[in-house]
């Protein structure tokens, strides 16, 4: 079928573009491409390349992939093109989880140890699950889109306030949390990459394998039930996947907005396909978007750098406005 063929082409193009941006990312920095060219003979250049630039650029790709995946799952699960990990309380819950972990265990988001990265991911995952469950409870299910989004906003504000309270109560985490709130890949090392990749692979396998259920759900809950799909169990699993993907990304890179929302839209504007393929392609698109944004954030005002979360918020916000403008036009869709 042509949808499969187009999806394969798009997937290949996204991988090639990601490889190109990875190369670019390895060369962007105060020492430029010199570090890449001299890495084999110069231990300092090697250290810059291997310990700093490569893990952070690859980390941006994996974190973006997690957010893109979470966005595609959220939009399919809630049958809503505006659903996004940030609008369903999962990101604010994850941020609260990280703030609590930092305050209680006195750790730092710059830590590179595996145990710390896993601990932060666990705290973020727990917070994300709580955020989504609170949103669903407040919205009394997922049937009413407006109520769901409103509940997500309320939960986001309340959990955000709780996070601020935790941060203020532990002044020594204030600086770390500020960097975290702006979103940054600056403290992503190989341990963070490994944790995100493992979580991402698990989330991708589970979500893509449930793609056919999301296809059935696309025609409505009643149709899905009439097809014998176990909706209650599948919803619980997909909410866990959503929370795991968001939690893993937020724990390692902080709050990075709009990647989850924009990635599935961009994929759908190029290819119309099943949810199984959409989830994989959205992950690839999210990875490319965040990696490109990260390189841009390091390059625009070099040798200083912009927090990548600020850049994605500005670019993503503009994209959302454009989508809304298109929606008002005859034939424009969201």
């Amino acid at each position: 079928m042509s949808g499969a063929r187009h999806s394969l082409w798009l997937g290949g193009a996204l991988l090639i573009a990601a490889a190109a941006v990875l190369l670019l990312g390895a060369g962007v920095g105060s020492t430029g491409f010199d570090s890449v060219l001299h890495a084999r003979h110069d231990p300092v250049a090697w250290q810059i390349l291997w310990d700093i630039r490569l893990p952070r650029t690859l980390g941006a790709w994996v974190a973006g992939g997690l957010l893109g995946l979470a966005g595609a799952v959220a939009q399919g699960l809630f049958r809503n093109p505006l659903a996004d990990p940030y609008l369903l309380g999962s990101a604010s819950g994850a941020a609260l989880g990280v703030a609590l972990a930092l305050a209680l265990f006195g750790t730092t988001p710059f830590a590179t140890q595996w145990a710390v990265r896993l601990g932060l991911t666990g705290a973020a995952f727990t917070g994300a699950v709580i955020g989504v469950v609170l949103t669903l409870a407040l919205a009394k299910g997922v049937q009413h889109t407006l109520r769901l989004l409103l509940a997500g906003v309320i939960v986001g504000v309340v959990l955000g306030a709780a996070r601020d309270l935790v941060t203020i109560a532990s002044p020594d985490t204030l600086q770390a949390m500020q960097g975290f709130m702006l979103g940054s890949t600056g403290f992503v090392g190989w341990a963070a990459c490994g944790v995100m990749a493992a979580m991402g692979l698990a989330a991708l396998l589970v979500a893509a394998s449930l793609g056919r259920v999301l296809d059935g759900l696309a025609l409505g809950e009643a149709t899905a039930i009439s097809l014998g799909l176990p909706l209650v169990a599948v919803r619980a699993v997909l909410v866990a996947v959503l929370a795991l993907a968001t939690g893993a990304a937020v724990a390692q890179t902080g709050l990075i907005a709009f990647v989850g929302l924009a990635s599935p839209h961009l994929v759908r504007s190029i290819v119309k396909t099943t949810h199984g393929r959409l989830i994989v392609l959205s992950a690839l698109m999210g990875g490319l978007l965040l990696m490109a944004a990260d390189v841009l954030a390091r390059w625009i005002i070099a040798p200083q750098e912009l927090p990548v979360g600020v850049l994605t918020a500005v670019l993503g916000g503009s994209y959302l406005l454009w989508l809304m403008h298109r929606r008002r036009r005859p034939g424009g869709g969201l």
Binding site: G3, L227, G228, P230
Partner: protein, 253 residues
């Protein structure tokens, strides 16, 4: 004639408001039954209840077994349901939408089998949607979309098929095609139950359930004068049933 679906004392409340009251109905196997009645009579609610999609009091039996005792996928293979104006899935291709009808037959994670592909092709050809199989559902007109959704129902190859307003958006030639298709299905031993607003089309069925105010007002053969009388009654005598050749037509008074 054994009943494919049987409802005893069915009551349904939606949002706290009672919608169906003590419905007793038996829908014969290998026959076409049409369900008609004025707006708000509870036709769609009855169909959804018979499909096991709504919580209810009383008991529904599918093929002589209580509906609650059927496992989800097993029930889905025996009973297929087409909802009223199903929305969404605009990004899926026509082929993928029709393939959803095979979900109850497919093992978890297994790709579609040869039998699945054959069933989908047969269904798409039966509704004349085969030529657009690669187009996204969202790119089709209302009538074309309805034919694809009908193909999704046919692809299930269930013994019992429930259709809620299957003629919505279909032009007269395709309504006539649907009629032929239903007759062919019944001739092959399938049970078809359809909610219809087109009384003239509904009168082509074998049986008719006439509903009003959440109750079954009458059930009988479509050529029975008592059925015609019941139809005229529930529509406040604003329509009259007349013979036309070997058919019956409903005309406004």
């Amino acid at each position: 004639m054994p009943a494919a679906l049987q409802a005893q004392g069915i009551g349904v409340a939606l949002g706290g408001t009672p919608v169906l009251h003590g419905i007793d109905v038996a829908l014969p196997a290998a026959r076409w039954t049409s369900v008609v009645g004025p707006n708000g009579a509870g036709k769609s609610t009855l169909l959804k209840t018979l499909a096991g999609l709504l919580p209810h009091s009383g008991e529904v039996q599918l093929l002589d077994r209580p509906l609650a005792q059927w496992r989800g996928r097993e029930r889905a293979r025996r009973l297929a349901w087409l909802g009223q104006g199903e929305q969404g899935a605009d990004d899926l291709s026509v082929w993928d939408v029709a393939m959803l009808g095979r979900l109850p037959h497919q093992p978890w994670l297994a790709p579609p089998s040869g039998a699945d592909r054959a069933a989908v092709e047969q269904a798409l050809r039966a509704t004349q949607a085969w030529d657009w199989r690669e187009r996204p559902l969202g790119a089709l007109s209302g009538g074309e979309r309805q034919r694809v959704l009908l193909a999704r129902l046919l692809a299930v190859q269930a013994e019992v098929m429930l259709m809620d307003e299957p003629l919505a958006n279909l032009d007269p030639p395709h309504q006539a095609d649907w009629l032929l298709l239903v007759r062919e299905l019944v001739a092959r031993g399938k049970t078809v139950v359809s909610v219809l607003h087109e009384i003239g089309m509904a009168l082509h069925a074998d049986q008719m359930v006439v509903m009003a105010q959440g109750r079954v007002h009458h059930q009988g053969a479509c050529d029975d004068p008592a059925t015609h009388q019941a139809l005229e009654q529930v529509f406040d005598h604003r329509i009259a049933i007349h013979p036309l050749g070997d058919q019956w037509v409903a005309l406004p008074r």
